[in-house]
Symmetry: C2
Subunit: 250 residues, 2 copies
């Protein structure tokens, strides 16, 4: 039985947290992140992999925009994993993922990830429980490999309520500047909410190497603030410094 | 004989252009670019390829930071082309370049590019004039292929003076936060300045498909302003609009 109960975890900010405070704090953190990313790149000792998962309309794209726009794009790479191509499907499920992992000095952001391979695939019965278990083991092994090669992994699950999701999906049908995001399948998937939650809980519980940050995501300002803060705290823990003069070709 | 004479093209802003004005204008343009990039991504009709070339320390990295940091990194990709790997060298010179071209909706920035294959290679006599001519033809053909597939190409040559370059290379040896950029070969390459200029002029003159923007680059604030402005003007010319509701899977 799942230990994580997403329904019991808040989807909104606590009542005493004020939007203006979070926004001001976020601005401060973004300025810090800009400097810290430069240092990460200059030092070239650590790689950072950020995995963002969440239901449709949980705000994954907006998060990327809010938090990573402040950093030099030369050191930041966002990869959105879509439905696999035939070539990708002809390989193991980690093949296309591994190809996009960050080299030292870089921050890579996965907008969806290898976790889809134990989520949407289970909801739609493309794999059975036994295969899901095998995949979770492979995921843990894979993440350990990355960690052992100086990669810091941060995982964020954007926890929105089903009501908030439905509200946002409706907006996509109504607001001209959001229509391009509308997908005819979104409502069908939304109807499978409880199934998705069950497999998300499984995936979260199945991670031995890197735990998930479960982010209340009904308010974008709170979500972005929490993610930026977690990233800043990780950066600070690395005790990075500028390297001295090196010899020979870079 | 070369038509372009880089020595006769300014490396600095005109005297009557004020730094504060350019900085204020740049901020305005960056806000516009953020919106325009979102529209480019949403519409998914055009791709944008930005090629940045210039001598060591001409400010290519800084330009990327100044101009593209304001856009959603999900729609922006920076690729720095370094010395080719053995695998890359075992292919034609455009192989590794072609692999990094933008899909529709995306902006890709090349920090150095296929032009290195008619620059550093000529300075160091790795190819002869005949091969350089063949490569320029291949480059024109390649760029035409991209243009015909809805790619807009912008090329910027960052025109700094030799004196300014030497000043910046010295800084790299003195300032701890710049030392990581220092490369023992930089001064040797700098001594070949006139040779580089000759081949740059050749490459600039040899482009039939897409002309170069030659950007006075001794002052970073002027350089970034001019590049941002050129990109904004290109965006505006595309007459983009948000698409309506689409059916089926995205």
């Amino acid at each position: 039985m799942a230990k994580t109960k997403l329904k019991k975890i808040p989807t909104a900010a606590p009542r005493d947290v004020r939007k203006e405070d979070c926004k001001r704090e976020l601005d401060k953190i973004l300025a810090e992140l800009d400097e810290l990313q430069n240092l990460l790149y200059a030092e070239g000792k650590h790689a950072i992999l950020i995995i963002i998962q969440g239901m449709d309309a949980s705000g994954k794209d907006g998060l990327t925009r809010d938090v990573f726009t402040s950093m030099n794009p030369q050191g930041v790479n966002v990869h959105s994993f879509k439905e696999p191509t035939p070539e990708e499907l002809a390989h193991d499920f980690l093949w296309r993922i591994h190809a996009q992992t960050p080299q030292k000095g870089m921050i890579h952001i996965f907008n969806r990830s290898h976790y889809e391979d134990v989520l949407v695939t289970r909801v739609h019965r493309m794999i059975d429980d036994k295969e899901a278990k095998r995949r979770m083991e492979a995921i843990n092994d894979f993440e350990r490999l990355l960690i052992n090669n100086h990669t810091q992994i941060l995982k964020f699950y954007l926890n929105i309520s089903h009501d908030e999701q439905l509200k946002r999906l409706e907006e996509r049908m109504e607001k001209p500047e959001k229509m391009w995001k509308y997908n005819a399948d979104d409502l069908q998937e939304s109807a499978l909410w409880d199934e998705y939650m069950k497999y998300y809980e499984d995936a979260i519980d199945g991670c031995n190497e890197v735990p998930w940050h479960i982010i209340p995501a009904d308010q974008n300002w709170y979500k972005s603030y929490l993610v930026a803060k977690a990233l800043r705290d990780l950066f600070k823990s690395l005790k990075m410094k500028f390297p001295g003069l090196k010899r020979g070709k870079s």
